[in-house]
């Protein structure tokens, strides 16, 4: 593969100087055919790779969702019988167990995502606003706050697994042994509490990203705005409401969307936290689909579920962008 990348990267790179040997033209000026070709050549490597790794496999995945791809056919899945919309019917038949389980998992995921994104945004924004002014130790604190985001997912989540252990974990030690909040040690990785465990880990890992983005966004707010507001006698709270939050709107638009998509599709966190069969209370859709395909060997139904998930995300993203992006530059999408 390295050869492929090298070759395609190469073609993009070398094509450029050949394009206008010594010509001193502005890049935006309309020109001859080779000038038209240049942007496409620059895009080519990215395009080929996206095609190869994302789009073509996605098309194959959609193709698979119309097949009866169980263990009897996976060896030669070209010969697997077409099943029409059967896989989809099974997935959305909410009165039958498979559909019911999918719906449950979907609702859990929606609830989890909303809470996680909300908390990440809230904590990240609050921290960024509190740290807008300089004070002693601000740089250190900022570095510290970015640590959860910088840690590799596996290392961070496995640490939480250790902390959530029933017998030798820190969480039970603090809540039960030291603070006596519970009358007996709780379970965090199985049963109903697993939802809160998952949420905690997700927020812990995710809020620094919101913090980082909002912090960057705050730096773009001109200081004069605050000075003017202060002269008008606006207090801190009013400055926050009248200047800071409105100025952050475009930043938040992208931030919330990105957080939403990442959280909704997150596989690594629940997988490392719970293993391949997640407890019902924390049965996120990504792990659910993984289980539907890899653990029960029904890749057709698994693909159908993924396609449904993709459609849902497309609709949500589309509606979200429509509702929020009025007046935004299109080029920034």
């Amino acid at each position: 593969m390295t050869t492929t990348t090298a070759a395609s990267a190469d073609s993009g790179e070398r094509a450029v100087p050949k394009d206008s040997p010594g010509a001193a033209r502005g890049p935006r000026r309309p020109g001859r055919i080779r000038r038209i070709a240049l942007p496409y050549l620059l895009l080519l490597p990215a395009l080929i790779l996206e095609l190869l790794v994302h789009l073509v496999p996605m098309v194959i995945g959609i193709f698979m969702s119309f097949k009866e791809l169980t263990q009897f056919y996976i060896r030669d899945w070209g010969t697997a019988p077409w099943s029409g919309f059967d896989n989809y019917k099974v997935s959305v038949d909410f009165s039958a167990p498979v559909g019911k389980a999918l719906l449950h998992s979907f609702l859990v995921t929606v609830g989890f995502t909303l809470l996680s994104v909300g908390l990440c945004w809230l904590i990240g924004t609050a921290a960024a606003i509190y740290m807008q002014d300089t004070f002693r130790g601000r740089g250190l604190l900022r570095a510290l706050f970015l640590v959860p985001y910088a840690l590799p997912v596996y290392a961070a989540v496995i640490t939480w697994v250790f902390m959530f252990q029933h017998d030798n974990g820190l969480v039970n030690h603090v809540l039960h042994d030291q603070l006596h909040l519970t009358d007996k040690p709780s379970f965090w990785l199985i049963g109903d509490n697993s939802f809160y465990a998952l949420l905690t880990v997700s927020v812990w890992k995710g809020w620094p990203f919101a913090f980082l983005i909002v912090m960057a966004g705050l730096q773009n707010i001109p200081g004069e705005l605050y000075e003017a507001a202060a002269l008008d006698g606006a207090g801190l709270w009013q400055q926050l409401r009248r200047i800071t939050l409105p100025s952050l709107r475009p930043v938040n638009q992208v931030l919330v969307l990105v957080l939403f998509l990442w959280t909704f599709n997150d596989f690594n966190t629940p997988f490392v936290l719970f293993g391949r069969t997640a407890p019902e209370a924390a049965d996120l859709i990504s792990v659910h689909i993984y289980q539907a395909s890899f653990v029960t060997w029904n890749f057709g139904t698994g693909s159908a579920m993924s396609v449904l998930l993709l459609l849902f995300l497309l609709v949500v993203t589309g509606v979200y962008l429509l509702l929020t992006s009025r007046g935004r530059k299109t080029a920034d999408v």
């Binding site: 395009l47 790794v53 807008q132």
Partner: protein, 297 residues
Amino acid sequence: MSSTAQTAPRASKAPRSPMAPPRSFLWSRRIFLTLLTGFVLVPVYVMVSSSLKPLADVSGKFRWLPSGLTIRPYIDIWSTVPLARYFVNSLIVAGAATVCSVVIAVFAAYAVSRYSFRGKRVFTVTVLSTQMFPGILFLLPLFLLYVNIGNATGIALFGSRGGLILTYLTFSLPFSIWMLIGYFDSVPRDLDEAALVDGCGPLGALLRVVVPAAIPGIVAVAVYAFMTAWGEVLFASVMTNDTTRTLAVGLQGYSTLNNVYWNQIMAASLVVSVPVVAGFLLLQRYLVAGLTAGAVK
């Protein structure tokens, strides 16, 4: 150039309000930041302290302070699983994916930022929309694709580091392109126009003018790409074998043992985290600057 000039004053920008903040604000800030620091630090403390504890300390009730310190776990981790090999694999995979991803993203973002052409919007929307694909949807198809490419061309993609590099670089590509488009847009066009007048080709303008001016953005993108590749579990677990396994998968080796050696797990987690966290913290200044000028404006 221009953007470093732009960001320099920002970094040391004046407090937003000339008035001293009221006491209540200071107190709420103190409380909030203290609580948050605790929340952030506790797992880090657990990781560090547990990695220095003897096995008995991590198997019994949790204790804040170790009964004795030992560096034994740090010695053992290298022999229980071939950690060194996984480390090298991860470095190669994440490093190569980062370099390729950045180079490709720079070209693509330059094209989108500086040229208007048919299909531009389709391209940006399509590339960005790949962010919403559930990984599970294309895990198996991608695997099949790699195998078939291997059969047809003799290029071994599956099971090789190359296949993994290819996969990871496309994971970070959409976000990188999007961020760099924003960053390049903030580099004044007059600069590359001037370079073109001086006799540089478009590539010369890109390499000599735009790229140097966009260093913070490029570093930010590189950091993001590296982190994405360093921590990925799902694709690595299916697409690697014994010789090409990466850290994220290899670390699971510590829990398939007969005993759960939490102290070794924590030590190994720490060892694999140090390079990324250190790099991240060193470069975070760029990251903020890059995001400020690029993604969030």
